[in-house]
Symmetry: C2
Subunit: 190 residues, 2 copies
């Protein structure tokens, strides 16, 4: 692949390496993700019906996003948004899972495997996960949010404002298997 | 900041370093971004009225996302989505811009500066940018998309499916300055 116009970023790193700086950490006491990534794919914790209820309950659970105090100014004005998009690093995904290319969606063997870029699998070449959350309160360097599906201790990479107009696309088409998962989740995403 | 439960990722890197692997590259012939990041903030290329028209025209321009052939399987099934979210690295953002905490939105001096996490500025601690695009065609390891606001040569980090239900939030609130920018852009995002 032509990589000649990708200069190195960071300092003292190998040419072409892209190095992220952790800007904060997620605190919510959640020890285990619903979907975990292993060497040979992803796995759903328990049966779908049981986990579904748990996932739905988690929607209202509060997480704290603790931003590095040295850059607290970076949050100025964020309290004017009702929702934000959090980018975090799935730090428990083993390095070996980053080499996977196909998985069964949601770890469900009954759904035929597809390419990882067609899924929300945490096992991906760069496990930078995104989560759209409701922002309840900003207190100093701490944001209190709900709907964040990360586990405790996840490094925060970035926060972006949520502007609904950006996502209001027409004629959106998704695969039948993804439609089925959405239907099972019902009003979870509202 | 408590960083003790953030194990190193990658191998041979400094403890706690998060290293991304480039999985592809964006090809679209676009040399300069509309918004560029310098040492002291971000700058809009030209006057808003002129640039606005150019930005609107760019909506229909086609970009190619060229994925590393060695992992082409990772795209299997992606053609069943009409829209995808592309995560890419803003490789032209100077390292010094990653230390900024506040900017004038869209580089416009008339809008009071705010914290960078309240903006879509490319100058941010980790310039991993996201763009929701329409997927027109998959041909081998190449995706043809429109609406991708990246410049030529940007490293691709990740691709995620776009499922509209995930973003269909109620009671979404944004700051007045962001509302004004959205209104100026009119139907750009449709």
């Amino acid at each position: 692949m032509d990589n000649t116009d990708t200069p190195p970023t960071g300092s003292g790193e190998a040419p072409g390496a892209i190095v992220l700086h952790q800007v904060g950490i997620i605190r919510n006491g959640v020890e285990r993700p619903f979907l975990s990534a292993g060497d040979d794919g992803i796995e759903l914790r328990g049966e779908m019906d049981a986990v579904k209820d748990e996932i739905r309950q988690s929607r209202d659970a509060v997480s704290e996003i603790v931003i590095d105090e040295k850059i607290v100014e970076i949050l100025d004005g964020i309290e004017e948004y009702s929702h934000i998009v959090v980018l975090y690093w799935a730090h428990r995904v083993p390095e070996s899972s980053r080499a996977l290319t196909r998985v069964h969606p949601m770890g469900r063997a009954k759904i035929p495997s597809v390419g990882i870029f067609s899924t929300c699998s945490p096992a991906r070449p760069n496990p930078v996960l995104t989560s759209l959350v409701r922002l309840h309160e900003k207190r100093g360097n701490i944001l209190r949010v709900s709907g964040l599906d990360a586990i405790d201790g996840s490094p925060v990479i970035d926060i972006k404002p949520f502007v609904k107009e950006f996502y209001d696309k027409k004629d959106v088409r998704i695969p039948a298997w993804m439609r089925k998962i959405c239907d099972e989740m019902g009003d979870y995403y509202e």
